[in-house]
Protein backbone atom coordinates (compact mmCIF):
# COMPACT_ATOMS: atom_id res chain seq x y z
CA UNK A 1 0.00 0.00 0.00
CA UNK A 2 2.70 2.44 1.13
CA UNK A 3 4.89 1.46 -1.83
CA UNK A 4 2.13 2.23 -4.27
CA UNK A 5 1.50 5.62 -2.67
CA UNK A 6 5.19 6.55 -2.82
CA UNK A 7 5.41 5.40 -6.41
CA UNK A 8 2.39 7.53 -7.39
CA UNK A 9 3.86 10.57 -5.64
CA UNK A 10 7.14 10.01 -7.44
CA UNK A 11 5.34 9.74 -10.80
CA UNK A 12 3.42 12.94 -10.12
CA UNK A 13 6.63 14.82 -9.27
CA UNK A 14 8.44 13.51 -12.36
CA UNK A 15 5.53 14.37 -14.66
CA UNK A 16 5.16 17.89 -13.22
CA UNK A 17 8.92 18.38 -13.56
CA UNK A 18 8.85 17.24 -17.18
CA UNK A 19 5.90 19.53 -17.88
CA UNK A 20 7.90 22.48 -16.49
CA UNK A 21 10.82 21.44 -18.67
CA UNK A 22 8.49 21.60 -21.69
CA UNK A 23 7.25 25.00 -20.47
CA UNK A 24 10.84 26.23 -20.36
CA UNK A 25 11.47 25.07 -23.94
CA UNK A 26 8.32 26.82 -25.18
CA UNK A 27 9.25 29.98 -23.29
CA UNK A 28 12.67 29.87 -24.88
CA UNK A 29 11.04 29.87 -28.32
CA UNK A 30 8.28 32.39 -27.59
CA UNK A 31 10.09 35.13 -25.71
CA UNK A 32 11.46 37.89 -27.94
CA UNK A 33 15.06 38.48 -26.85
CA UNK A 34 18.07 37.26 -24.90
CA UNK A 35 17.19 38.61 -21.45
CA UNK A 36 13.56 37.44 -21.46
CA UNK A 37 14.69 34.00 -22.64
CA UNK A 38 16.97 33.82 -19.63
CA UNK A 39 13.89 34.10 -17.42
CA UNK A 40 12.35 31.09 -19.13
CA UNK A 41 15.57 29.19 -18.45
CA UNK A 42 15.16 30.08 -14.78
CA UNK A 43 12.15 27.75 -14.63
CA UNK A 44 14.19 24.76 -15.73
CA UNK A 45 17.02 25.54 -13.28
CA UNK A 46 14.89 25.71 -10.19
CA UNK A 47 11.51 24.07 -9.82
CA UNK A 48 11.84 21.70 -12.79
CA UNK A 49 15.18 20.30 -11.58
CA UNK A 50 13.92 20.26 -7.99
CA UNK A 51 10.77 18.26 -8.79
CA UNK A 52 12.64 15.73 -10.92
CA UNK A 53 15.31 15.18 -8.25
CA UNK A 54 12.63 14.83 -5.54
CA UNK A 55 10.81 12.30 -7.73
CA UNK A 56 14.03 10.32 -8.07
CA UNK A 57 14.63 10.52 -4.31
CA UNK A 58 11.26 8.86 -3.74
CA UNK A 59 12.22 6.14 -6.22
CA UNK A 60 15.58 5.55 -4.51
CA UNK A 61 14.28 5.35 -0.94
CA UNK A 62 16.43 6.30 2.05
CA UNK A 63 20.07 5.52 1.23
CA UNK A 64 23.34 7.17 0.31
CA UNK A 65 21.85 7.72 -3.16
CA UNK A 66 19.23 10.04 -1.61
CA UNK A 67 21.95 12.14 -0.05
CA UNK A 68 23.86 12.31 -3.32
CA UNK A 69 20.76 13.39 -5.23
CA UNK A 70 20.09 16.15 -2.68
CA UNK A 71 23.69 17.32 -3.04
CA UNK A 72 23.21 17.49 -6.82
CA UNK A 73 20.22 19.75 -6.24
CA UNK A 74 22.10 21.92 -3.73
CA UNK A 75 25.05 22.42 -6.07
CA UNK A 76 22.77 23.06 -9.03
CA UNK A 77 21.01 25.80 -7.07
CA UNK A 78 24.35 27.30 -6.10
CA UNK A 79 26.03 27.22 -9.49
CA UNK A 80 23.25 27.94 -11.97
CA UNK A 81 22.54 31.52 -10.78
CA UNK A 82 26.26 32.20 -10.93
CA UNK A 83 26.38 30.98 -14.53
CA UNK A 84 23.23 32.96 -15.42
CA UNK A 85 24.76 36.06 -13.87
CA UNK A 86 27.95 35.60 -15.89
CA UNK A 87 25.88 35.31 -19.09
CA UNK A 88 23.72 38.36 -18.34
CA UNK A 89 26.71 40.45 -17.31
CA UNK A 90 28.62 39.50 -20.45
CA UNK A 91 25.66 40.44 -22.63
CA UNK A 92 25.23 43.76 -20.85
CA UNK A 93 28.91 44.63 -20.98
CA UNK A 94 29.08 43.77 -24.66
CA UNK A 95 26.47 46.50 -25.14
CA UNK A 96 23.51 44.28 -25.96
CA UNK A 97 20.34 46.33 -25.41
CA UNK A 98 16.82 45.36 -26.29
CA UNK A 99 14.78 48.45 -27.01
CA UNK A 100 15.24 52.18 -26.76
CA UNK A 101 13.02 52.45 -23.72
CA UNK A 102 14.98 49.88 -21.75
CA UNK A 103 18.25 51.44 -22.75
CA UNK A 104 17.14 54.82 -21.40
CA UNK A 105 15.98 53.24 -18.17
CA UNK A 106 19.30 51.57 -17.53
CA UNK A 107 21.48 54.59 -18.32
CA UNK A 108 19.38 57.09 -16.36
CA UNK A 109 19.16 55.33 -13.05
Amino acid sequence: MWDILVSYCSDALLITGSFLSLTFAIGLLRFPDFYTRMHAAGVSDTLCAGLIVLGLVLQAGISLVTLKLLFILLFLWFTSPTASFALARAAHRAGYRVSEQEEVASSNS
Partner: protein
Protein backbone atom coordinates in the same frame (compact mmCIF):
# COMPACT_ATOMS: atom_id res chain seq x y z
CA UNK B 1 42.45 28.49 12.20
CA UNK B 2 39.14 27.63 13.87
CA UNK B 3 37.49 28.18 10.54
CA UNK B 4 39.89 25.84 8.74
CA UNK B 5 39.13 23.10 11.27
CA UNK B 6 35.40 23.53 10.73
CA UNK B 7 35.85 23.36 6.97
CA UNK B 8 38.03 20.26 7.25
CA UNK B 9 35.40 18.57 9.43
CA UNK B 10 32.69 19.41 6.88
CA UNK B 11 34.83 18.10 4.02
CA UNK B 12 35.52 14.83 5.87
CA UNK B 13 31.78 14.31 6.49
CA UNK B 14 31.02 15.18 2.87
CA UNK B 15 33.66 12.77 1.58
CA UNK B 16 32.46 9.93 3.81
CA UNK B 17 28.87 10.50 2.71
CA UNK B 18 29.72 10.46 -1.00
CA UNK B 19 32.25 7.63 -0.98
CA UNK B 20 30.36 4.69 0.50
CA UNK B 21 33.53 2.53 0.29
CA UNK B 22 35.35 2.44 3.62
CA UNK B 23 38.59 0.53 2.90
CA UNK B 24 42.13 1.74 3.58
CA UNK B 25 42.95 2.66 -0.01
CA UNK B 26 39.94 4.97 -0.60
CA UNK B 27 40.29 6.49 2.89
CA UNK B 28 43.90 7.44 2.08
CA UNK B 29 42.75 8.99 -1.19
CA UNK B 30 40.13 10.91 0.78
CA UNK B 31 42.68 12.28 3.23
CA UNK B 32 44.95 13.30 0.35
CA UNK B 33 42.19 15.08 -1.57
CA UNK B 34 40.98 16.95 1.51
CA UNK B 35 44.55 18.03 2.25
CA UNK B 36 44.87 19.26 -1.34
CA UNK B 37 41.65 21.26 -1.09
CA UNK B 38 42.69 22.84 2.20
CA UNK B 39 46.10 23.72 0.77
CA UNK B 40 44.49 25.40 -2.27
CA UNK B 41 42.07 27.17 0.05
CA UNK B 42 44.91 28.66 2.03
CA UNK B 43 46.72 29.78 -1.09
CA UNK B 44 43.57 31.48 -2.39
CA UNK B 45 42.73 33.09 0.97
CA UNK B 46 39.10 32.07 0.63
CA UNK B 47 38.89 30.26 3.92
CA UNK B 48 38.35 32.97 6.52
CA UNK B 49 35.57 34.49 8.59
CA UNK B 50 34.93 37.30 6.16
CA UNK B 51 34.07 35.01 3.26
CA UNK B 52 32.01 32.40 5.05
CA UNK B 53 31.06 33.24 8.63
CA UNK B 54 30.26 29.94 10.42
CA UNK B 55 27.19 31.43 12.11
CA UNK B 56 25.70 32.10 8.69
CA UNK B 57 25.48 28.34 8.12
CA UNK B 58 23.03 28.12 11.02
CA UNK B 59 20.82 30.90 9.74
CA UNK B 60 20.88 29.94 6.05
CA UNK B 61 18.39 27.00 6.18
CA UNK B 62 15.64 29.34 7.40
CA UNK B 63 16.46 31.80 4.64
CA UNK B 64 16.36 28.95 2.10
CA UNK B 65 12.91 27.89 3.29
CA UNK B 66 11.62 31.41 2.68
CA UNK B 67 13.43 31.64 -0.68
CA UNK B 68 12.03 28.27 -1.79
CA UNK B 69 8.47 29.56 -1.33
CA UNK B 70 9.29 32.68 -3.36
CA UNK B 71 10.86 30.53 -6.08
CA UNK B 72 7.77 28.31 -6.32
CA UNK B 73 5.49 31.36 -6.53
CA UNK B 74 7.49 33.03 -9.29
CA UNK B 75 7.90 29.72 -11.16
CA UNK B 76 4.13 29.48 -11.41
CA UNK B 77 3.92 33.13 -12.44
CA UNK B 78 6.50 32.72 -15.24
CA UNK B 79 5.00 29.38 -16.39
CA UNK B 80 1.59 31.09 -16.76
CA UNK B 81 3.20 33.92 -18.75
CA UNK B 82 4.81 31.36 -21.07
CA UNK B 83 1.56 29.49 -21.79
CA UNK B 84 -0.62 32.60 -22.21
CA UNK B 85 -1.78 32.83 -25.83
CA UNK B 86 -1.06 36.57 -25.95
CA UNK B 87 2.41 37.50 -24.78
CA UNK B 88 1.86 39.79 -21.78
CA UNK B 89 5.30 40.77 -20.49
CA UNK B 90 6.93 44.06 -19.53
CA UNK B 91 10.69 43.46 -19.78
CA UNK B 92 12.59 46.14 -17.87
CA UNK B 93 15.90 47.09 -16.32
CA UNK B 94 16.07 48.71 -12.90
CA UNK B 95 18.67 49.48 -10.28
CA UNK B 96 17.70 48.29 -6.83
CA UNK B 97 19.52 49.16 -3.59
CA UNK B 98 21.69 46.53 -1.94
CA UNK B 99 23.21 48.38 1.01
CA UNK B 100 24.92 45.46 2.75
CA UNK B 101 28.08 45.75 4.77
CA UNK B 102 29.21 42.22 4.05
CA UNK B 103 30.07 40.80 0.67
CA UNK B 104 28.41 37.50 1.55
CA UNK B 105 25.04 39.18 2.02
CA UNK B 106 25.40 40.95 -1.33
CA UNK B 107 26.25 37.65 -3.03
CA UNK B 108 23.24 35.97 -1.42
CA UNK B 109 21.03 38.87 -2.51
CA UNK B 110 22.24 38.81 -6.13
CA UNK B 111 22.11 35.03 -6.39
CA UNK B 112 18.62 34.88 -4.85
CA UNK B 113 17.38 37.34 -7.46
CA UNK B 114 18.89 35.32 -10.31
CA UNK B 115 17.61 32.04 -8.88
CA UNK B 116 14.06 33.38 -8.83
CA UNK B 117 12.57 32.95 -12.32
CA UNK B 118 11.52 36.24 -13.88
CA UNK B 119 14.43 38.24 -12.49
CA UNK B 120 18.14 38.19 -13.30
CA UNK B 121 20.95 40.23 -11.75
CA UNK B 122 22.93 41.82 -14.57
CA UNK B 123 25.48 43.97 -12.74
CA UNK B 124 26.69 44.19 -9.14
CA UNK B 125 27.99 47.55 -7.92
CA UNK B 126 29.08 48.71 -4.50
CA UNK B 127 25.56 49.27 -3.16
CA UNK B 128 23.20 48.68 -6.07
CA UNK B 129 22.23 45.77 -8.27
CA UNK B 130 21.15 46.18 -11.87
CA UNK B 131 18.25 43.80 -12.36
CA UNK B 132 16.37 42.69 -15.46
CA UNK B 133 12.79 41.67 -14.85
CA UNK B 134 10.26 39.87 -17.05
CA UNK B 135 7.12 41.58 -15.74
CA UNK B 136 6.10 44.45 -13.47
CA UNK B 137 4.95 41.92 -10.91
CA UNK B 138 8.29 40.11 -10.53
CA UNK B 139 10.01 43.49 -10.14
CA UNK B 140 7.61 44.50 -7.39
CA UNK B 141 8.35 41.28 -5.51
CA UNK B 142 12.03 42.24 -5.39
CA UNK B 143 11.32 45.67 -3.97
CA UNK B 144 9.03 44.31 -1.28
CA UNK B 145 10.06 45.02 2.32
CA UNK B 146 9.87 41.29 2.99
CA UNK B 147 13.03 40.51 1.04
CA UNK B 148 14.89 43.35 2.73
CA UNK B 149 13.80 42.04 6.12
CA UNK B 150 15.05 38.52 5.37
CA UNK B 151 18.44 39.81 4.23
CA UNK B 152 18.74 42.10 7.24
CA UNK B 153 18.22 39.10 9.51
CA UNK B 154 20.91 37.25 7.56
CA UNK B 155 23.38 40.11 7.98
CA UNK B 156 22.68 40.55 11.67
CA UNK B 157 23.42 36.88 12.24
CA UNK B 158 27.06 37.07 11.20
Amino acid sequence: MKHSLLLTALLVLFWLALSGHYVAFTLILGVLSIALVMWLNRKMHISDEKVMPPLLLLRLPRYWAWLLLEIIKSNIHVAIKIWQPRLDIQPQFKKIPSPWKRDVTRVVHANSITLTPGTVTVMVDKDTLLVHSLTDETMQALESPEMKEQLEKLERFQ
